[in-house]
Structure formats: structure tokens, C-alpha cells
């Protein structure tokens, strides 16, 4: 059975390589389109190219009061959406899906520190989509963090409160910094970086 699986896997690899080449016949590409319709998963994670954005239901809306400082006083309406797909990862506002709204980002673009936050709004600015993110506030200094002694378990204690100030985060600087969050009690939250994210943090300039 293993040899059959390996054989199928190699055949599929060769077929994918052929499809990617420019001299691949149009009829084969058409077959791929038909097969994709039947067999491809509903949410694709691999075929969205770098920087490709997929927005659902873009509608200009009145800018909420707390978002105005980021957009300027002259602008009254902006295209806002509930979810955004970037590099195959779906980001949403916290009202839409809490888990998909959790991200790690660099506050004020400072790449020396990475903090967790929650996306409150997704809006368009100068033709690009930006995120308005609320930063997770640090935990009280009197609370000791039992997670820090485990160097390779990427979790840390934070306050369960979010900053009232919104911060503008460019989707292209955010990349795939996704997070999990667990509330221990009403005042303490554990946030951690999911494994696929952790490497990016280590190697970011």
C-alpha cells in the first residue's frame, strides 16, 4: 500500500510540475479547472499568490468614531469588510470570528517587539487593506508568568483587557502572525503563537 501511495504522490507531483510549465496543452489546463471544481477543498490555502487579496462583500460604510483618528477627519466613509484572505490565511474582525481576529504585530512598526492583538476593523486606505488592531495589554507585574520558564512553548500571560486605542497595521507587514488565546479568569489571558508563526518571529529583521 505504501508503494501505491508513494507512486500516486510522485505522479501527482509530476503532473503539477507539467501544469505549471508554459508548454502545457490548454486541454490539460481545462481538465485541471474541472477537477479543481470537484475535488478542491472549499478554502484553499496554497494557491493564493503573494499579496493576493480576497475580500468578501466590500461595501463603503460610515467610519466608526474610534476609527476616525486613523483615517483623518476629512474622510467619512470607507470600504470596510468583515473578513480578508491574505496568503491563504483568513483574517476577520473580532465580531465575526474571535480566533481569526487574533494576530501578533509590531507596534508602531517597531520590529524589536512583537505583541498580540485583536483585529477590530478591516478597512481600505489608498487602495490597500489595513487592519485596525487593539493591542492586548500586558499582565500586571504582580502576577508571575508560569509559562516563561518553558523556553520552547510560545505562550505568555497578558491582561484580558484590550487597549482602547486602535493601531493601524498593514496587512503586508502582518503576514501570518496568528495567535491562540485562552482566558484563565476575568483579568488574565494566555496568548501564544501558533507554531507556524513562531519561526517568522525568530527570523524577522
Amino acid at each position: 500500500m505504501e508503494s501505491t501511495l508513494l507512486h500516486s504522490f510522485l505522479k501527482a507531483g509530476n503532473l503539477k510540475r507539467w501544469l505549471a510549465k508554459p508548454d502545457c496543452p490548454a486541454v490539460i489546463k481545462e481538465c485541471k479547472r474541472l477537477f479543481d471544481k470537484i475535488y478542491r477543498p472549499k478554502v484553499s490555502d496554497g494557491d493564493v499568490s503573494e499579496g493576493d487579496l480576497h475580500v468578501s462583500h466590500p461595501v463603503p460604510k460610515n467610519i466608526p468614531q474610534d476609527l476616525r483618528p486613523l483615517l483623518g477627519p476629512l474622510q467619512h466613509q470607507a470600504i470596510m469588510c468583515a473578513r480578508l484572505r491574505h496568503n491563504g490565511v483568513i483574517y476577520t474582525t473580532s465580531d465575526t470570528h474571535t480566533g481569526n481576529s487574533l494576530v501578533h504585530f509590531y507596534p508602531q512598526g517597531d520590529t524589536s517587539s512583537l505583541v498580540p492583538g485583536s483585529i477590530k476593523y478591516i478597512y481600505e486606505e489608498h487602495g490597500r487593506f489595513c487592519l485596525a488592531v487593539q493591542q492586548q495589554l500586558p499582565a500586571s507585574e504582580i502576577v508571575s508568568d508560569p509559562y516563561t520558564i518553558y523556553a520552547h512553548f510560545p505562550a505568555k500571560l497578558y491582561s484580558s483587557q484590550l487597549s482602547s486605542q486602535l493601531e493601524r497595521v498593514d496587512i503586508f507587514t502582518l503576514c501570518e502572525l496568528e495567535t491562540f488565546r485562552y482566558s484563565v479568569c476575568c483579568s488574565i489571558t494566555i496568548t501564544g503563537m501558533l507554531s507556524c508563526i513562531y519561526y517568522m518571529i525568530l527570523f524577522s529583521p
Binding site: 505504501e2 501511495l5 508513494l6 500516486s8 504522490f9 475535488y39 478554502v43 490555502d45 490565511v89 483568513i90 470570528h97 474571535t98 480566533g99 481569526n100 487574533l102 508571575s144 508560569p146 509559562y147 520558564i149 518553558y150 523556553a151 520552547h152 512553548f153 510560545p154 505562550a155 496568528e178 495567535t179 491562540f180 488565546r181 485562552y182 482566558s183 484563565v184 494566555i190 501564544g192 501558533l194 507554531s195 507556524c196 513562531y198 519561526y199 525568530l202 527570523f203
Partner: protein, 168 residues
């Protein structure tokens, strides 16, 4: 034990995770939950289990006596060796330091197993786990050569409609 399972279930149900993460059944541990798959085991052991155990037995928790506290702390530290090893092994980039750290964690985990859990006998998996650093150096990150693509293919083949006759 019931308290530990209850905390693990609580963590599974209350943790906010992205929708792409293959989470664990909310009734994990119940008879009706069924068996969980390899990817779910990985997420359970690298996300939910450490959160639950550290919150119960980690620094700052209270226990009836110092002996009990020391025992639970020992079990926690031992479990975290495995958690750290799995986390390092599943990373998308391989560097020598990570491979060395993995070997260190896994060696300590296997050595301490007999002391911490006297009733558990060594398994062949433990031997195989010691070869992973070598494979990481030879073939790169595990994501390039782990068996999940094959598992997905098996799943697709199993879902194909058939009339239970071979070759038709």
C-alpha cells in the same frame, strides 16, 4: 484525574483559535468522542495540554502538601520536555540549534520516563524519535517529509464512491 480531564476539556472549549487549526473534539475524553487523529494529537499536545497542565501544576499553583506539589511539578516538567521537543520538531525552518535542543529534550524525556512513570515501558516510538534530528539534517523540516500528505490521500481514496469491488 477527573479534574485534569475536566481542565483539558475546558481549555479545548474556551481557547480561541483560528479556523484553519484542526482542533480537538470538544468532548475529548468522553466515550462518544471517538479516537482523535494524528494532527489532532499534535495540536492537543502542543497547545491545549500544556496550557491546562501549567495552569494546574505550574508555578504559583497551590497544592495540599509540598510533596504533592513536587510530584505534580515533576510530572509537568517531564511532560513539557516532550511538548518542547514536538514543537521544535514541527517548525518550518531547521537550524542546528533547534535540532540539538530537540535531541536534548527527547533524551531527557526518555531517561526520566522510568523515574516519573514507573509503570510505563519503553516503546519503539521512543527509539525512532531519537533518529529525527538526523533526518532533520538530511531532509530538512518535517513538513517536507511527514506522512500527513499520505494520510490526506488515504482520506480522499476512502471518500471515493465505490461498489466494494476491487478494480472497478
Amino acid at each position: 484525574m477527573a479534574e485534569v480531564m475536566s481542565r483539558i476539556k475546558q481549555v479545548i472549549n474556551k481557547t480561541a483559535v483560528p479556523s484553519w487549526l484542526n482542533s480537538v473534539p470538544h468532548n475529548y475524553g468522553d466515550v462518544g468522542a471517538g479516537t482523535i487523529k494524528a494532527d489532532e494529537w499534535r495540536n492537543l499536545s502542543t497547545i491545549f495540554l500544556p496550557i491546562a497542565l501549567i495552569s494546574m501544576w505550574g508555578e504559583g499553583t497551590s497544592h495540599p502538601s509540598p510533596e504533592i506539589a513536587a510530584k505534580f511539578h515533576g510530572i509537568l516538567d517531564h511532560t513539557m520536555l516532550l511538548v518542547s521537543a514536538v514543537t521544535l520538531a514541527c517548525m518550518r525552518t531547521v537550524i542546528v540549534n533547534r535540532s540539538t535542543a530537540y535531541l536534548d529534550y527527547m533524551t531527557r524525556y526518555i531517561c526520566d520516563l522510568v523515574t516519573i512513570h514507573a509503570d510505563i515501558k519503553p516503546r519503539p516510538n521512543m527509539h525512532m524519535a531519537m533518529h529525527i534530528p538526523h533526518f532533520l539534517c538530511l531532509f530538512g523540516p518535517v513538513r517536507s517529509w511527514w506522512c500527513f500528505p499520505f494520510e490526506r490521500l488515504i482520506g480522499q481514496i476512502q471518500r471515493l464512491l465505490s461498489n466494494h469491488k476491487s478494480g472497478i
